[in-house]
């Protein structure tokens, strides 16, 4: 994988990895904890964690024999910024009033 953005999107393309990220919003977790919800072996989860780490979406620390994963959401902001460049194209109508209403709606969110 050459660029950061491709790595992030590729990491997000897998539902298991998205679920792992969602879990990590509640705080750090061990590999076993992260593996628990999935019908998949521990090494498979370790591989997913490696993908997430290489995309910069998690960092990892040790505590005793456990390896803790931590969410690192910064690259998600980059991805979101990229998507933001298309904001003008995902509204059907393009007349002035509609743009204004959308603009106001944006401010509210």
């Amino acid at each position: 994988m050459v660029d950061q953005l491709s790595a992030v999107f590729a990491a997000l393309a897998d539902p298991t990895r998205r679920a792992i990220l969602a879990r990590l919003r509640d705080g750090e977790a061990t590999v076993a904890e992260l593996a628990e919800p999935f019908a998949m072996s521990q090494p498979a989860v370790s591989k997913h964690l490696k993908v997430l780490e290489q995309a910069g979406l998690i960092t990892r620390t040790r505590r005793a024999t456990a390896r803790l994963s931590h969410l690192r959401a910064e690259p998600l902001r980059t991805a979101r910024d990229w998507l933001g460049d298309y904001r003008a194209y995902w509204q059907e109508s393009h007349d002035r009033l509609d743009d204004l209403l959308t603009e106001l709606q944006e401010k509210d969110t």
Copy 2:
């Protein structure tokens, strides 16, 4: 690919496909026009277009012998919404003042 979100992120993971989407912001284009910037065969580009179409990111129409691709940005909004759920996690500090400032800053953008 099971779900829509995975398909969209997978489609975005390729720089060629992101470049195609960017080009389509300037309006519809033929396969030949889309292929022109890339050092790659026409069938390769056709395959990329198929991936984009299946992710719902383009629609296609005919005009004479040409097949025109049109940007359909709606799924990008869905992807951006998903990323938005992590907004609270991509700022380092989490104290109240910082949150308030970020909140205000958000409204400005």
